[in-house]
């Protein structure tokens, strides 16, 4: 087979998504506002089509293309499928919300799909520049999405903050990459990895580059001490966009971490482990303790995300295949939980009313026991109480950290998890023990009702039978990192 053909096949899903995004932009010019639902359908079809292409081109081995700049391995395929699935859920959850707020336009879907393409490139990047390109494509779409509610001053402020800090983080990442290039003479991740295996030269430059890379990654993940943007952006963005930023993009950020730290710089594991330990511990402490003081549901979720990132780092800092697979399991579980949590805020929101305060959940059990039950599962899952998926997620990363001998760090993490349980319990308390403040009937679309129900019930079902998801993550990581 000739080279061009191999390259094109490897990148077929990305090419498809990008073409469709542009097609949607074009179609949007000619479509009447009343028929705009077609755009939504088209976006969903794009994700379905991309999933189909990814599935049919899937092989259980690693294929490099574009002169080694691009990789198609099981990890990238699994993560891409997760990205399609979660984006599709995001689109379902957000449709009513954005149409009530004048954001139901072709640009929204085009930007989301461009962001998806950016994430796909990040997931498959095997070269510093590919990764960086994917990251920037994603980030620029996100900045625009945050600012999409044009007349909203808070959204504009959040977008500005996100842009400035995000650009700074990208800059740091790029600076770190340039130093690694200086030290190893290559931008290709496999080559950087093998050149480090042959002996570490220019150690000071390497370590300095590593520090910048880790700082950049921590910014993107939202780990302490680079977490400042998270609560502001979560709170200021339209909830539809917060949902997207808080869930799907974390999958891509995880891929970025694995590509850079586990594949490229694995030889320096001893060095980055120390940095990750500090960030993980601080994230869990600050995330959990600050979350207690919040009255805004969105801010509370923001701090809860920070603490979840801390737990995720426990998996990564174990620096073993077991640890990376556990971290992947954690991030997938986290994304499913976040979708359900924000999905509930979107479901309860109405025209002119954002259900983004804790008090807006008051007495939900009396207003609608089924939605209260779904939120109950989600909250206990986030708190890591069995029999929910969140328990196995915490279990997996903690056992990986314990295997790496970090027993006291694990004990510390579980003590902090008790503090974390408090604010999730408070939500359950508000829903079940308090009297409703707002007695209006909750109205929603059929598809939203079903998707959200399935989403939350999946947390319970996967909690009873977590094996399939664990297998998927172990399969992706073992084949891609060997």
């Amino acid at each position: 087979m000739n080279g061009i053909q191999t390259d094109v096949i490897a990148a077929l899903p990305e090419i498809f998504v990008l073409s469709m995004a542009m097609f949607i932009l074009l179609v949007d010019l000619f479509i009447k506002p009343a028929n705009r639902i077609a755009i939504f359908m088209l976006a969903q079809l794009t994700l379905l089509g991309a999933a189909f292409i990814t599935m049919t081109t899937h092989v259980a081995s690693v294929t490099y293309s574009f002169s080694g700049m691009f990789v198609d391995d099981p990890m990238s395929d699994v993560l891409k499928l997760m990205i399609y699935l979660t984006t599709a859920i995001v689109l379902v959850y957000t449709r009513t919300y954005i149409s009530l707020r004048g954001m139901f336009r072709g640009e929204f879907y085009a930007l989301v799909l461009f962001a998806v393409a950016g994430m796909m490139i990040m997931v498959s990047g095997q070269h510093f520049l590919t990764l960086y390109m994917g990251l920037e494509l994603l980030s620029l779409c996100l900045y625009a999405l945050v600012a999409m509610d044009r007349d909203n001053a808070r959204a504009a402020e959040a977008a500005m903050k996100y842009f400035v800090l995000g650009a700074l983080a990208s800059g740091m990442l790029l600076y770190g990459m340039s130093m690694l290039y200086g030290a190893t003479g290559s931008l290709n991740i496999s080559e950087v990895g093998s050149s480090l295996l042959n002996g570490v030269q220019n150690r000071p430059v390497l370590i300095l580059g590593l520090v910048f890379i880790v700082a950049g990654l921590a910014f993107k993940l939202g780990a302490v001490p680079f977490q400042m943007w998270v609560p502001d952006v979560y709170e200021g963005s339209p909830t539809a966009v917060t949902l997207f930023i808080g869930s799907v993009t974390k999958l891509a950020a995880f891929a970025l971490v694995i590509r850079l730290l586990a594949q490229g710089l694995f030889v320096l594991a001893i060095d980055w482990q120390g940095m990750l330990i500090i960030m993980a511990v601080l994230s869990i402490v600050i995330g959990n303790i600050t979350a207690i003081a919040q009255t805004s549901l969105k801010r509370m979720f923001a701090y809860s995300t920070i603490s979840h990132v801390g737990f995720l780092l426990y998996g990564i800092m174990s620096a073993s295949v077991n640890g990376f697979a556990s971290a992947m399991f954690y991030i997938v579980s986290y994304v499913l939980m976040t979708l359900a949590g924000f999905g509930m805020i979107l479901l309860l929101s109405r025209k002119g009313f954002e259900a983004d305060q804790l008090d807006d959940l008051k007495g939900l059990n009396q207003r609608n026991p089924w939605y209260a039950f779904l939120m109950l599962i989600t909250m206990f899952s986030m708190a890591g109480v069995p029999p929910t998926l969140g328990f196995y997620a915490k279990f997996a990363v903690l056992q990986a950290a314990l295997q790496a001998g970090m027993i006291w760090l694990v004990v510390f993490a579980v003590l902090m998890a008790v503090i974390g349980a408090f604010y999730y319990l408070r939500i359950v308390k508000i829903m079940y023990f308090d009297e409703p403040k707002d007695k209006s009937v909750i109205k929603t679309t059929t598809e939203m009702h079903w998707v959200l129900s399935l989403n939350a019930l999946a947390l319970l079902a996967l909690g009873l039978m977590p094996q399939s998801l664990m297998n998927l993550c172990a399969y992706a990581i073992t084949l891609s990192l060997s």
Partner: protein, 496 residues
């Protein structure tokens, strides 16, 4: 032996019944919900009876075993089994659930389906705790049980229920997470979560002590032992009657049972090494908490403290490592299940009429409720350990066991016979006897047939096991001997 998966049935029948009750919907169908719940509870009790009839009394190992691979990645099994210690507790659980459903019949009027369902689901989960032989399976049941209990106290509890239920949840969670760390550590040593593998695994002394302390954190909170008992009076007082009954009769036994199932056999040398510490804590609970009970103004609080004091007997019985003490402790667990249920139900009977738990609000109840007073006095006598009631048997066996070990242990433990009588009878005197205290008491109506039924069944059991405790001791005998044999064998690695 039948080939039916009896333990799985015992766990899943009540859980499915609970889900069925939830499906009856809101309070418009409350009547259906009650009947479905009662049917579910009765069937769930019926499926546990073959555990007794089919039990092999000479076998000290695990019976009715079921094993399937559940999560292969971590070698986690769905492994169930029961021995002479767990079968009586399983029966107690399914029996108490029937009582709780009947006790909440007319009393609970808001969100009936959710109330009944919570108890049914909780019952299944607790039976799961008593029969799981895989550490993670056990942990899942143990933690999952907190969710319905949290809701029961928080929704149907008293005025200060939110504080109490959050305290209950966080206290318990803290202890159990440390236990989880211990399990993961053991897993990395043995590559298994199977309990029987842990029993065989040699462990160095310092490791054993840490593991024992991690388990201690989880179980001591649950029992509860002094000084981590403070959640219990709050939770008991604020919980609805059914919640208090389940907490006292079963949930407290989870901790005691788990000491026998996990902490002691996995770390036997640490258990011996720390036995002085454990006995001290137990005796403090027995004596000091009994004194605390003496000054309580609130009836439920008084019974809650009396539970802690009685559970001190259980842990004392465990850590003197004699068959008399151990069997006494197990009898005490079962008997306390009946007596504390009866006491809380009695308070419930009064509370439903007067909406007060303060002793001072009563006085002379015997004049208006003579039938009820007869039962209440009987249960109070049993609570203070009167010979001829089940309360006496367990305490007496533990005291005898302690006497063989050390005179002073026995001496301190037997003070409870005095203090127990003092606080219980004093309460009975102030509530039931004397002149009619006030207008409200004068208007009290005696127990109805539903209440009479519950109280009579419990009275028969309390006297029955007091006169003839053999059904429990026969069942536990072989298991206890097995256990003591295991405890006498050191697990320290050879050469250290």
């Amino acid at each position: 032996m039948t080939s039916l998966p009896l333990l799985s049935l015992a766990i899943w029948v009540p859980i499915l019944a609970g889900i069925l009750v939830l499906l009856t919907g809101d309070d418009k169908n409350a009547k259906t919900a009650r009947w479905v719940a009662l049917a579910g509870a009765l069937i769930a009790f019926a499926v546990t009876i073959p555990l007794y009839t089919g039990f092999n009394f000479t076998d000290g190992g695990f019976q009715f075993q079921e094993g399937h691979l559940w999560i292969p990645s971590f070698n986690i099994h769905y492994h169930l089994g029961a021995d002479g210690i767990s079968v009586p507790l399983i029966l107690l659980t399914s029996f108490t659930t029937v009582l709780v459903v009947i006790a909440g019949w007319e009393v609970i009027t808001k969100r009936v389906a959710q109330y009944m369902a919570s108890f049914l689901i909780m019952s299944g989960l607790m039976i799961g705790v008593f029969s799981a032989l895989d550490a993670i399976l056990y942990y899942v049941f143990w933690e999952a049980m907190l969710i319905p209990m949290f809701l029961v106290i928080g929704i149907w509890g008293g005025p200060n229920r939110v504080y109490a239920t959050i305290k209950f949840f966080l206290y318990t969670l803290l202890g159990s997470l440390l236990m989880l760390v211990a399990f993961i550590y053991l897993y990395h040593q043995s590559n298994s979560f199977e309990l029987v593998d842990y029993y065989r695994m040699p462990l160095a002394m310092n490791v054993q002590i840490l593991i024992f302390l991690a388990f201690f954190a989880a179980f001591a909170v649950k029992i509860p032992m002094w000084p981590v008992h403070t959640w219990l009076p709050d939770a008991h007082v604020e919980a609805p009657t059914g919640g208090s009954v389940v907490l006292a009769a079963i949930a407290l036994k989870l901790g005691g049972y788990s000491f026998l199932r996990f902490a002691m056999p996995i770390a036997p040398d640490a258990a011996h090494y720390l036995s002085g510490f454990m006995i001290t804590l137990s005796l403090i609970a027995v004596v000091y908490i009994a004194l605390v009970a003496l000054v309580q103004q609130d009836m439920k609080k008084l019974i809650a403290y009396s539970s802690i004091s009685h559970m001190g007997f259980v842990t004392l019985g465990f850590f003197i490592f004699s068959s008399l003490g151990l069997e006494g402790a197990i009898v005490q667990m079962i008997s306390h299940g009946f007596i504390s249920s009866a006491m809380f139900l009695s308070v419930g009977v009064l509370y439903d009429r007067m909406h007060s738990r303060q002793i001072a609000d009563y006085g002379g109840v015997v004049n208006t409720m003579p039938k009820f007073a007869a039962f209440a006095v009987l249960f109070a006598m049993a609570n203070s350990g009167l010979p001829g009631t089940s309360g006496f048997v367990g305490e007496f066996m533990v005291i005898l066991g302690a006497l063989q070990e050390n005179f002073w242990y026995a001496f301190l433990a037997s003070t409870t016979l005095i203090f127990g009588a003092a606080y219980t009878l004093w309460m009975v005197k102030r509530v039931f006897f004397g002149d009619i205290g006030n207008q409200h008491v004068a208007e009290l109506v005696d127990v109805n047939q539903r209440e009479l039924l519950i109280l009579s069944v419990l009275a028969i059991l309390v006297i029955g096991f007091g006169v003839y405790p053999q059904p429990i001791t026969e069942m536990t005998h072989a298991t206890v001997n097995n256990f003591l044999e295991h405890m006498a064998t050191t697990k320290l690695p050879v050469g250290i």
